[in-house]
Structures are given as structure tokens and as C-alpha cells.
């Protein structure tokens, strides 16, 4: 039985486990510092992001402004480097002219350097659950707007998050909500309604039927969003077309269309009509056995009953929804081999937490004795993005050091060089292949993805360079001297300290002996050659099966 009681003792190794699973790794020093507080307070603070210093990060974002790229379009780039926590969401994205790899690099940069790692890790978790793809959305800005919603509501009551995703402009394009009309003789478009239950709240065939899908689709018909004229970005690859820079959600309410707004559809943007067109299928809907009447204009937001219908899912199907969420949370944070009894317990926790409040649920789960059980350490295969970011945090220069060297831009450029490899390693950020996202745990590893992890390991450990502006720059600048603030006395100490830095699962003693014997066949001195060998050893550790686990 899973023991969900909170842990009472707490060591740096425990903190490191929390950092791997619920963040992107902690240095040995940071793990020790976290373990110095009582576990309850420390883990609450980790989840809430307390004590995080956003100042340096925000300043670095302004420095790392990607708009110094050569202009791609005709319009001069006038995007200011806006101070604040999220300066790229609109202005930056517009400057990038819908450049996916820039946006991916921006996310990876946030994961490596952001002061609130749990928020980024949780956004990554939700990104996989509400998997929405740039390929069809065709807007970096809308994809990043969705990421921001995931950051803001990742710890909210689940119905709030579910409703927000249902109103999210990227989602509305991705699953055709913008084309769902049930007025007159039109049959509603079921694309979003089906996934709202199958993939986003209940699981396939779990407490609903085809009729419920059709009724939910009808309840949501007419939902769309508008963009202001200034938020339409010319598509640099296709003259005359536009991509959306920012969207404002609209429920049809019979009101007038805001001045200067364009109604979005799958084909671009419609010329603004005088009033938002009535695409809603009126009348009552019967959903999961409950009847929902139209809300009249006097008492509520126009004809929109969709939100009430959506919010009813976790109430009328609490058992199924809590099972669904439990399975996903456990698979990402705890174990790929949990028993049904374990999952039932976590589902019970979710169901009995008022409003399925995810902050409370995660605080219990990530403090539990079960989470810290030895059997659950290194029990999951780490996904390629978090795997890479964790190695970069361990081996690369940190944000402050980069600033002191006056080379903050390179931190961002490094990610721009390698994000393509994420795709090859099986995780194209902001663009999963389908609405069911990426399969987790063992599915992360196959012969092809291992090949690209090898490539990423080389970039991170061996100090690979790329050429920019005629000068060779290290892809991920790192100094072996920084990995070893004091000189190691023996090959075994080199290995032990790298293991402490990179935190792989235990490496068999015979393998360690084989590596050390090959790398240091003769007497050991800590010289430049040994430092190169230490890089090679870091590469071997990153490639080892032990390092693929979290």
C-alpha cells in the first residue's frame, strides 16, 4: 500500500530526488541547503516557488532577447525588451515571426535558468496532457500564451485549468473549436468535445458515451476568439496570410463585435462582422445525465452554457476523473509500475481534495513516504528535454557566471542550436505529433532516441563548439575546473564527484573499473589531459543506462 503520510526525516539525497522529479535537478550544494529546512516547509516552498529570486532571471531575459537575429521580414523589429517575468509572450514572439525553434529555445532556457523550476516542470507535465501542436496552430505566440496559462493554473483547481484550456486560443485552433457551429442545420464539430473527456479529464470510454460527446460539442458550439488588428502577424513564409499574435476568448453572447477585432477561423481571420455571428446551437443539452438550460442574457454571460457543462464533468464523474488524474500524476512524478491499489489511493486523495485542488494534491503526493520510497527512486525513464536540461544545469555555466562574463546571449543561442535534437530524441517541444502527447517512461527510449541522447551528451560534456559570426563558441560553455573546485586525488574520486554532480542511478562497479582503467591506465595527476578525460567520463556517464533514469 502506498503510504501517503508525510516523511519526517529528510536528507540531501531526498532533496536531490525531489529536484530530479519535480524540477530539473539540484546541485549537491543546493540539495544540502534545501535539506536544511524541515521537510514540510521545504517542499511547500519548492512547490509554491517561495524565495525564488526572479530579478536576475528577468534581467537575463531582457539581455538574451532573441531579436538581435537578422531581420527575417520586411518590418523593422521594434519590440522592446520589456522588463517583467514574461517579456516574450507577445512582443518577443512577434519579433520571432513565428519561429518555432526560437520558442523552443526560450522554453529550454527558462527550464535551465528559471528561479521557479517546479512551475516549469509542471507546465511541461500539463503541456504533455493538454498536448497542442504548433504545426496546426501556426502561431508561436499562441503556443506561448498557452504555456503561460499552464504556468498560472498548473496548481489550480482542476476544473479551472480544464475550462481555461477549453477557452485557450491555441487549443481552439488545434481541435477545431473555432469551426464548431451548430446553428440551423449544422451538425456540431466533435473534435474538441471528444478529447475534452477522453484525453483531458476522464480517459477513453470512462463514464460517457457518444451522445455525451455530441451534446458537449453542441454546448461549446460558437466558442471562438478574436484578435486585434495589431495582433495579426504577417506570415513571413506566405505573403497575404496571417498568424495570430494574441487571442481573446469569446463566447457568443449576442453582443456587438469589439471595434477593430478580427474573428479567427481556421483559414486566417475573418473581416469583423458587426456582431459576433451566432454559431451556437441553442436550447438545453443533456450531458452525463444532467440537463443544462440556456443561460439568459439577464442572469449570465449570454447564451453560454458551455462552461457550466464543462465544469460538471469532475463533479458528476468524480470517480473517473480522479482516477484519470491520478494515473497521469503518478506516471510523471512517482512510478511507471504503480499497482492499481496505489493508483486507487492517489485517486482517493484527488477526489477528496476539495475542487481537485492540484496544489494541495501535489503537496501531499510529493511529501509522501511513498514518493521517497527507495523502490521509486530511478524508477522512471527521464524524458529527453528534462534529461538534457538537468545535464545542462549540472555541467554548464550558471546564469550569474554567464552575466559576469558578459555572454548571457550565448546561453540562449546554445539552446537554439540543440532544440532540433529534442525532436529527434522524441520530444518536439510545443509540437507533439498528436493530441495524446508523448508516451512517458519506457516509451522515451528506443534505438533512435538513444542515438540522439548520445549526441546531446556530447554537446554538453565535451565542450563542443559551433561557429557564430566567424568565431567558434562553446555550445554549452563549461569549465571542468568548475566541476572540481578542488583537485581530485584519484580517478575514482573524479568519477565519484561526477556522479555526485550528474546523479545517475548506481553504475555497476565493474563498469566503473573498466572506464577508469581505460581512461587513466597510468599514474594519475590532475592536469589538462586529465581534465579532458574527465569530460570523456562525464560523456560516458550521461550515455550510461543509469543516467536515463530519474
Amino acid at each position: 500500500m502506498a503510504n501517503l503520510d508525510p516523511i519526517t526525516s529528510w536528507t540531501p539525497a531526498d532533496a536531490a530526488h525531489l529536484g530530479r522529479r519535480a524540477g530539473f535537478g539540484l546541485s549537491p550544494e543546493a540539495a544540502a541547503a534545501l535539506a536544511a529546512s524541515p521537510p514540510g516547509a521545504a517542499i511547500d516552498a519548492w512547490i509554491d516557488g517561495l524565495g525564488a529570486d526572479h530579478g536576475a532571471f528577468t534581467a537575463a531575459l531582457a539581455h538574451a532577447d532573441p531579436v538581435d537575429e537578422p531581420a527575417r521580414g520586411s518590418a523593422p523589429n521594434q519590440a522592446p525588451a520589456v522588463p517583467g517575468p514574461h517579456p516574450y509572450l507577445v512582443e518577443g514572439a512577434q519579433a520571432w515571426r513565428n519561429d518555432l525553434s526560437r520558442a523552443q529555445a526560450y522554453l529550454a532556457f527558462r527550464m535551465q535558468h528559471g528561479p521557479y523550476p517546479f512551475q516549469e516542470r509542471l507546465a511541461l507535465f500539463w503541456h504533455n496532457l493538454f498536448a497542442t501542436g504548433w504545426q496546426k496552430v501556426d502561431s508561436v505566440a499562441l503556443m506561448l500564451q498557452q504555456q503561460q496559462t499552464l504556468r498560472e493554473l498548473g496548481l489550480a483547481p482542476f476544473a479551472d485549468l480544464h475550462a481555461a484550456m477549453s477557452r485557450d486560443p491555441a487549443m481552439a485552433i488545434w481541435l477545431d473549436s473555432v469551426l464548431n457551429r451548430a446553428d440551423g442545420a449544422n451538425v456540431p464539430n466533435e473534435n474538441y468535445a471528444r478529447e475534452a473527456m477522453e484525453l483531458y479529464s476522464l480517459g477513453a470510454d470512462n463514464g460517457y458515451n457518444q451522445q455525451d460527446i455530441t451534446e458537449l460539442a453542441r454546448a461549446l458550439s460558437g466558442w471562438s476568439f478574436t484578435v486585434a488588428a495589431g495582433d495579426r502577424i504577417p506570415d513571413p513564409t506566405s505573403p497575404g496570410r496571417w498568424v495570430a499574435g494574441r487571442g481573446t476568448f469569446r463566447v457568443y453572447d449576442g453582443g456587438a463585435n469589439p471595434e477593430g477585432e478580427y474573428l479567427w477561423n481556421a483559414l486566417g481571420a475573418e473581416a469583423p462582422p458587426a456582431r459576433l455571428p451566432d454559431r451556437h446551437g441553442g436550447g438545453p443539452v443533456t450531458f452525463l445525465g444532467q440537463v443544462f438550460a440556456d443561460i439568459d442574457a439577464a442572469s449570465g454571460p449570454g447564451l453560454a452554457k458551455g462552461e457550466d457543462v464543462l465544469r460538471s464533468i469532475v463533479v458528476s464523474r468524480a470517480a473517473q476523473a480522479s482516477q484519470f488524474l491520478a494515473r497521469r500524476l503518478v506516471l510523471h512524478f512517482v512510478s511507471g509500475a504503480a499497482s492499481q491499489a496505489d493508483l486507487d489511493q492517489v485517486a482517493e486523495l484527488v477526489r477528496t481534495t476539495p475542487g481537485f485542488d492540484l496544489r494541495q494534491v501535489l503537496k501531499v503526493l510529493l511529501k509522501s513516504q511513498w514518493f521517497f520510497e527507495p523502490a521509486n527512486r530511478f524508477a522512471l525513464v527521464e524524458g529527453p528535454v528534462s534529461w538534457t536540461v538537468r545535464a545542462a544545469r549540472a555541467l554548464g555555466l550558471d546564469l550569474a557566471a554567464a552575466d559576469a562574463a558578459g555572454a548571457a546571449q550565448n546561453r540562449f543561442a546554445a539552446w537554439a542550436q540543440v532544440v532540433e535534437t529534442f525532436d529527434l530524441a522524441g520530444m518536439r517541444l510545443l509540437d507533439p505529433a498528436g493530441p495524446n502527447g508523448w508516451h512517458e517512461d519506457r516509451a522515451w527510449l528506443n534505438s533512435n532516441t538513444v542515438r540522439y541522447r548520445t549526441k546531446l551528451a556530447a554537446a554538453l560534456a565535451l565542450g563542443e563548439t559551433f561557429t557564430q559570426g566567424g568565431a567558434a563558441r562553446a555550445l554549452f560553455p563549461s569549465e571542468v575546473a568548475r566541476w572540481f573546485p578542488t583537485a581530485p586525488a584519484s580517478p575514482q574520486e573524479v568519477l565519484d564527484r561526477l556522479v555526485a554532480l550528474l546523479q545517475p542511478a548506481p553504475i555497476p562497479a565493474a563498469v566503473q573499473a573498466g572506464w577508469l582503467g581505460s581512461l587513466w591506465p597510468a599514474a594519475f595527476t590532475w592536469d589538462a589531459a586529465s581534465q579532458d578525460q574527465a569530460r570523456q567520463l562525464a560523456f560516458l556517464i550521461l550515455c550510461a543506462p543509469s543516467s536515463q533514469l530519474s
Binding site: 481541435l175 477545431d176 469551426l179 449544422n186 451538425v187 464539430n189 466533435e190 473534435n191 471528444r194 477522453e198 477513453a204 470510454d205 481556421a266 483559414l267 511507471g336 509500475a337 527512486r377 530511478f378 524508477a379 522512471l380 525513464v381 525532436d423 529527434l424 522524441g426 505529433a433 498528436g434 495524446n436 517512461d441 519506457r442 516509451a443 527510449l445 528506443n446 534505438s447 533512435n448 532516441t449 538513444v450 542515438r451 548520445t454 549526441k455 556530447a458 565535451l462 563542443e464 542511478a505 548506481p506 553504475i507 555497476p508 565493474a510 563498469v511 573498466g514 572506464w515 581505460s518 569530460r535 570523456q536 560516458l540 550515455c543 550510461a544 543506462p545 543509469s546 536515463q548 533514469l549
Partner: protein
């Protein structure tokens, strides 16, 4: 299967007669090439048409009640007679499915309309998994993975099963053997920076391999559960590098014909612009692997975008152009590929499938998830025509969906036994996995 009077009558028609292993019903008015004899080293190329292909608009009904129901339920999405080439059995081939018409004319395409399963739940993901497992008792392995278990050497044959996608679908997972995934012609090679860089070529792989071997042979009592798995995968990667030769790349090759996405390819998108070359790139890579002498027998490819809930008129036409163009280009290209076991065109069969078809009733400008789908096989060894009855559009289920006419495992049984040469008892055991069901009937196209 409930036998209605209508279905009984339909069973007497030409299309119905083709079901369950009877000779195919090919249009009698055209001169057909005879099928090639089954090769000694057959190759199978699987194309996963991802998203639930609206095959009703690929092979729309041309006559009778099926046509009138189709017209009525698809007021704006229906394909007009002018957009169809009659291919018999009351069905026409959409002219946007360009490339397939010529292959069909030559008798090289076996169409299986109405392929499906009992109790379909209309989920892409559940359906795809069931198609992958292909078993009455789903056990987490796939039918091609179990084939690899049965037919590939336990240690060796590393490159015999290959997916050119960068994942490992359920369909390809065996108990002891799985396919390797290769997405680029550089195959399996260490990053070039390593070969010329800090790590010396003679021993870098050796050190990695030592780590993999140790974890495979002795994962350690109480060690992390994923360790042996991670080591096996790493070992597969290293073993595959051996099959790619010393520099890890395939010899360059210029295809004999243009593929969709090539500048010289004649067919364009319906809305102008070039066709997507996604599938074409994968098939080109398969042809290059065969020409390069890779000893592979089963390949897996995927083309997505078929979840056409919206803007179907334009999107589906473009998808059909890319799909049909890629298949026909690949087929023609293979004629130019010689292998040790003979010409690749003679050796290869293409099997294309989708997890389901779509609802007969259109929504505003697209179609929602449905049931019975279309599978088809293409090759020199295929006897073209229709296999299994075209579903009866006048006899839909309570949700407006088609009733399937051929169990998808009949297709697998046919391919495993009659194309890949797995003995009949082994084929039945692979698909039934101990379930006490009658064996799946074989279809007669090979």
C-alpha cells in the same frame, strides 16, 4: 455479425463474392498484369495512415442506395461523379488519390473497404493500439513484434525490422525482439565530433558497450527496474551501428522517379504549392536502405493529418495527393532497385491502414470519428480488386456509423501466412494468442 436481408442480398453481388478469400473482383474491362509469384525473401512496407482516414471520400459509392445515402449525408463534402474513376463493385476512385489509379488499373491494388473490429470506441489512440496488438487477448505486444519474435534470429537480425519513424509503436514491440528506429540515411553512427574529437574511435563504443552489457547481464538485485531496459535499447543501438558499416551511412542514391515534395513532381496541392513530402521522404529512405544492401524485411512508415474534422474539402484532397503520389512513386522507384534476392519491386508489398473511418454524416465542413475503415495492399504479388463487402450505407448503427465487413486480423493472417511465409499454425497462434476462436479467414489477394 448480424445477417440482415439487405446484407444477404448484397452478399450475392460481385463485391460480396470477393469476401473471405474468394478471388478478387477486379474491373473486367481493363487488361491486367498477372500477379508475380511470391518471392523467397518477401519485404513488407507498412504505411500507417494516422488520424482516421475518411475513405468514403477516397472510394465513394457510385450507384444504388449507397450513393443516395452518401449524397444525402454529405451535402457539401460529397465527391461528384466527375471526380471519380469507376473501379467496379459500385465504387469509384477519387481522382485526387492520384497515382493510385494507374496501379489500380494494372491490378496491383487489393482494396479492403469496411475493415474493422467489434465494439470500436472511436478513440484514435485505443483503436491504434488495438490495430497494433492485433490480438483477441491484447498483451502489450504488437503483431509485427510477435512476428519478429517468431521469425527473426534471437540474437542477430538487428536490422531486419525497421521503423523510419522516431518512435517505437506498439505494433512493432515483441516480447524479446523489437524493431530499430532509423530516421535518417546516416543511420547509426556516433556524432562525428566524437569520432574525430576527444574520444578515440577504437574504444568509445567499446566502453559504452561494456556498460550496456553489464546492465543487461546483471541488472543487480534490487537495482532500478528500468536499468535493464535502458541497457537493452542502448545495446540495440550499438548493434545496429555494425550493420551500417564503418562510417554509419548509406550510399547516396538518386531515386529513379520524382516523389511528392520534389521540385519535378508534377502533382500540386489543391490550393497551390508543393505537396508535403513527409511520407515520400520516409519511402525514399526505405528504397535507399534496400538499394544500400540493408538486410531488412519489414519497414514501418507513418503519414499523419487524416483527422479531418474541418476544412476537409481542401485538406483531404491534399493528403490523398501526397499519399497516392508517394505510394506510386515508391512502387515505380523500386523497379530500379536491385537486391541480392532479386528486384525490389518484385519482393515488396505495401500495406496501408488507418485506425478507423469517419462518420457518414458530415459536420459543417469536415467529418467526425467513425468506425469501419479502409486498408489496401499494393505490390507485384497482389491480385488487385475488392476483398470484403463494401459497407451498406443504408444500415448504419445507432450513432450513424458503418458496420464492418472484414475483421482486421484477417488481413494480418493473410499477410503473415501468404506473404511473409509464416506457417499457418504459427500465424493462427500469433493472432489468437490462446483464445478459443476460429482462425481468421485469409483473404485471396495473395
Amino acid at each position: 455479425m448480424r445477417l440482415t436481408r439487405r446484407r444477404f442480398l448484397q452478399g450475392l453481388t460481385a463485391a460480396g463474392a470477393a469476401a473471405w478469400g474468394l478471388p478478387g473482383c477486379a474491373p473486367a474491362t481493363r487488361a491486367l498484369e498477372p500477379a508475380s509469384p511470391r518471392p523467397t525473401r518477401p519485404i513488407l512496407v507498412v504505411i500507417n495512415i494516422d488520424g482516421g482516414n475518411d475513405w468514403l471520400n477516397m472510394l465513394p459509392p457510385t450507384a444504388g442506395q449507397n450513393r443516395s445515402v452518401y449524397e444525402q449525408r454529405r451535402p457539401t463534402l460529397r465527391v461528384l461523379p466527375a471526380g471519380l474513376v469507376e473501379i467496379g463493385a459500385g465504387a469509384g476512385l477519387n481522382t485526387d488519390f492520384s497515382g493510385m489509379s494507374l496501379l489500380s488499373d494494372r491490378g496491383r491494388v487489393a482494396w479492403i473497404p469496411g475493415i474493422g473490429m467489434n465494439n470500436p470506441n472511436l478513440s484514435h489512440f485505443v483503436s491504434t493500439d488495438l490495430w497494433g496488438q492485433g490480438s483477441a487477448q491484447p498483451g502489450g505486444t504488437g503483431w509485427l513484434g510477435r512476428y519478429a519474435d517468431a521469425a527473426f534470429a534471437p540474437a542477430g537480425d538487428v536490422l531486419r525490422g525497421i521503423t523510419v519513424t522516431n518512435d517505437l509503436p506498439v505494433m512493432l514491440r515483441g516480447q524479446g525482439r523489437s524493431f530499430v528506429s532509423i530516421t535518417s540515411p546516416s543511420g547509426f553512427v556516433f556524432p562525428s565530433s566524437l569520432r574525430g574529437g576527444l574520444l578515440g574511435a577504437p574504444w568509445d563504443a567499446g566502453l559504452l558497450e561494456a556498460g550496456y552489457d553489464a546492465a543487461v547481464s546483471d541488472p543487480g538485485a534490487g537495482g532500478p527496474p528500468g536499468l535493464a531496459y535502458a541497457a537493452q535499447v542502448g545495446k540495440a543501438f550499438l548493434s545496429a551501428t555494425q550493420g551500417f558499416g564503418t562510417d554509419g551511412t548509406l550510399p547516396p542514391r538518386t531515386p529513379a522517379v520524382p516523389y511528392p515534395g520534389d521540385a519535378s513532381y508534377p502533382v500540386r496541392r489543391l490550393d497551390g504549392g508543393a505537396l508535403s513530402g513527409g511520407l515520400a521522404r520516409q519511402l525514399k529512405l526505405v528504397a535507399r536502405m534496400l538499394a544500400g544492401g540493408l538486410d531488412a524485411q519489414v519497414f514501418f512508415t507513418r503519414v499523419g493529418g487524416f483527422d479531418t474534422h474541418a476544412n476537409q474539402q481542401v485538406e483531404h484532397a491534399n493528403l490523398m495527393r501526397a499519399l497516392g503520389g508517394s505510394i506510386s512513386a515508391f512502387y515505380e522507384d523500386l523497379a530500379d532497385v536491385q537486391t541480392e534476392s532479386g528486384n525490389a519491386q518484385d519482393r515488396t508489398m505495401i500495406l496501408a491502414w488507418s485506425e478507423f473511418g469517419r462518420r457518414v454524416q458530415q459536420n459543417q465542413n469536415g467529418t467526425d470519428h467513425g468506425t469501419a475503415g479502409l486498408a489496401f495492399c499494393v505490390g507485384r504479388g497482389v491480385t488487385g480488386g475488392f476483398y470484403g463487402a463494401y459497407p451498406d450505407l443504408g444500415d448504419l448503427d445507432g450513432n450513424g456509423n458503418l458496420r464492418f465487413t472484414v475483421d482486421f486480423r484477417s488481413l494480418y493472417a493473410t499477410v503473415l501466412e501468404r506473404w511473409l511465409g509464416l506457417p499457418a499454425p504459427a500465424t493462427d497462434a500469433l493472432l489468437l494468442q490462446g483464445a478459443a476462436l476460429p482462425a481468421y479467414p485469409r483473404l485471396g489477394f495473395v
